[in-house]
């Protein structure tokens, strides 16, 4: 594993109007690892993801302090192209939201917006993305039927494929399996393990078990602060902090 930091967060503070959602968080996410940011509801996990690809810019009244470096460049600087940022750092939301169009058009949506018009290139991009998201075999015969007819698990893999079609560098997933059954969850976790060969992955898991199953390293957040981070193998067996221990043994949260 490459040991350099793909994303480096330094002393990040984040505010929704007067409410401080993230308090002085610093952490590094390395190339080709799966990093889990976990914690109880409202502890700032989703906010970190939204800060990293600046989806939070869409919410009125938010502001941030500190640095978020992507390959050493601060994404918060005004000259950082925001659409380029979102293509390099894709996000999959908790609720799978296919756009009301065909499977093919959903996957091709991002590449088309980035200016790719060549049909052969698009078709190749769509197939490659669906294969990587382990959805190709299920949908290859109905690429032009509406994506909304897929099952919940298939829709979430479609959303992952849609991100992959952007050929991103980082994939962020916000509780991607919260609305899915155990089999769909298993399929998505398996595909994540394959994807980390090529991408850097940040996941906010919907439970602690998922963090333990898929992540190489994890950070535990509580009320906006980063309590502890480290290798999952160590952290879930032998946490350093009492609060982490209490949370993963189910004493609160």
């Amino acid at each position: 594993m490459d040991n350099r930091a793909k994303i480096s967060i330094k002393n990040l503070n984040f505010f929704y109007n007067d409410h401080q959602a993230i308090k002085d968080v610093s952490l590094d996410i390395k190339y080709n690892e799966i990093y889990a940011i976990f914690g109880p509801a409202n502890s700032g996990t989703t906010t970190i993801l939204k800060a990293i690809n600046r989806m939070c810019d869409l919410i009125p009244g938010t502001r941030s302090e500190g640095e978020i470096l992507l390959d050493g460049r601060d994404i918060r600087s005004p000259d950082f192209n925001i659409t380029e940022l979102r293509r390099r750092v894709g996000i999959v939301f908790e609720e799978p939201v296919p756009l009301p169009m065909s499977i093919f058009d959903n996957i091709a949506y991002g590449p088309r917006m980035s200016g790719i018009k060549n049909k052969a290139v698009l078709a190749e991009r769509v197939e490659k993305s669906l294969r990587m998201a382990v959805l190709w075999d299920e949908v290859k015969d109905k690429l032009h039927s509406p994506a909304l007819r897929l099952s919940g698990g298939q829709q979430q893999r479609l959303c992952i494929a849609r991100i992959l079609a952007l050929e991103p560098e980082v994939i962020m997933l916000d509780r991607p399996c919260a609305a899915l059954d155990p089999i769909s969850t298993f399929q998505i976790e398996e595909s994540l393990k394959l994807l980390k060969e090529r991408f850097t992955i940040i996941i906010v898991p919907h439970n602690i078990q998922q963090a333990a199953r898929v992540a190489d390293r994890a950070g535990f957040m509580l009320m906006g602060t980063l309590v502890e981070e480290g290798d999952t193998d160590r952290m879930f067996v032998n946490p350093r902090e009492q609060k982490t221990s209490d949370y993963i043994t189910g004493r609160f949260g």
């Binding site: 690809n53 989806m55 869409l58 009125p60 659409t83 380029e84 979102r86 293509r87 894709g90 996000i91 939301f93 609720e95 939201v97 756009l99 009301p100 169009m101 065909s102 949506y109 991002g110 088309r112 917006m113 980035s114 509406p146 909304l148 007819r149 849609r162 991100i163 952007l166």
Partner: protein, 278 residues
């Protein structure tokens, strides 16, 4: 005397059903009456010939053409303004004083009687802009009249779009414009088209505003600056001046059929469009 809940229930149900039935019967009666009186007059000759002798004989072709032209001008002018305003209100501004003022103005416009639009159109387009009684004056006046309908229905349609569609589009690297065109507009389109169709219906049926701005000349319009008599105006004059009740009913019947066809066709189109994406 107090009613038992059960009796009250029965009475309420009966009254509500009766009201609904009366409404439906009323509609069927009006349609049936006009179609019964008007259909015998409808013939290929009636549709394909221009009126002669003030409309006593001949057909109504020139009024059909006038209706189409005036309505087309109104829709072509009002749709971009109406839909544009709706997108401005929903996507480009935050809720605030500006949106409240625009919405208040649109609401007030919707409440103005059509004869007032006619007077405005007469003073502004016909006299002040020297456009005369013409297709263009009539069309522009109707455009102003249907603007609030289009703004309102489009705005509702855009607001009803799943809010996550915008987030998804932005998260895939879309700009604001790409998001509106690619993710928001396709979902809002059925509702926007419904608004435009409501507008078409109002244009086709309008009399007061048109008579003051497009005039009532029976000649076939040759350009956008020719005076014109629409179907609604034609049958108003036929009936009002006692020229030919029979022909007034014929024109009315055709008007009803046209509006029916527009509605049915639009519904079929929308169903197809929605079925393709769901």
């Amino acid at each position: 005397m107090r009613l038992s809940p059960k009796k009250a229930q029965i009475i309420a149900k009966t009254v509500i059903w009766a009201v609904a039935v009366v409404i439906i019967l009323l509609l069927i009666f009006i349609m049936a009456y006009i179609l019964a009186k008007g259909l015998p007059t409808l013939s290929w000759q009636f549709l394909s010939e221009v009126p002669r002798d003030m409309g006593r004989s001949g057909g109504i072709l020139s009024t059909i053409v006038s209706t189409l032209l005036v309505t087309a001008v109104a829709v072509v002018v009002a749709t971009p303004f109406g839909v544009g305003t709706a997108f401005f209100l929903t996507e480009y501004t935050r809720e605030g004083r500006v949106t409240r003022i625009i919405r208040f103005c649109a609401g007030a416009l919707a409440a103005i009687p059509s004869i007032v639009y006619g007077l405005f159109g007469f003073i502004f387009f016909v006299v002040y802009l020297k456009l005369g009684w013409s297709v263009i004056s009539g069309g522009l006046t109707l455009a102003v009249m249907i603007l609030p309908t289009i703004i309102r229905t489009s705005e509702d349609a855009i607001r009803a779009v799943h809010p996550m569609y915008r987030d998804v589009s932005y998260s895939l690297g879309g700009t604001k414009w790409q998001t509106i065109v690619g993710a928001v507009a396709p979902s809002a389109l059925p509702g926007i088209i419904t608004g435009v169709i409501l507008g078409i219906g109002r244009c086709v049926a309008e009399t007061a505003a048109v008579i003051l701005t497009a005039g009532s000349a029976l000649r076939m319009p040759t350009s956008l600056f020719s005076p014109a008599r629409t179907m609604a105006v034609h049958f108003y004059i036929l009936a009002r001046e006692g020229i030919s009740m029979e022909r007034a009913y014929g024109t009315a019947a055709l008007l009803i059929i046209v509006i029916l066809i527009i509605n049915v066709a639009a519904n079929i189109l929308l169903e197809k469009f929605v079925a393709k994406s769901r």
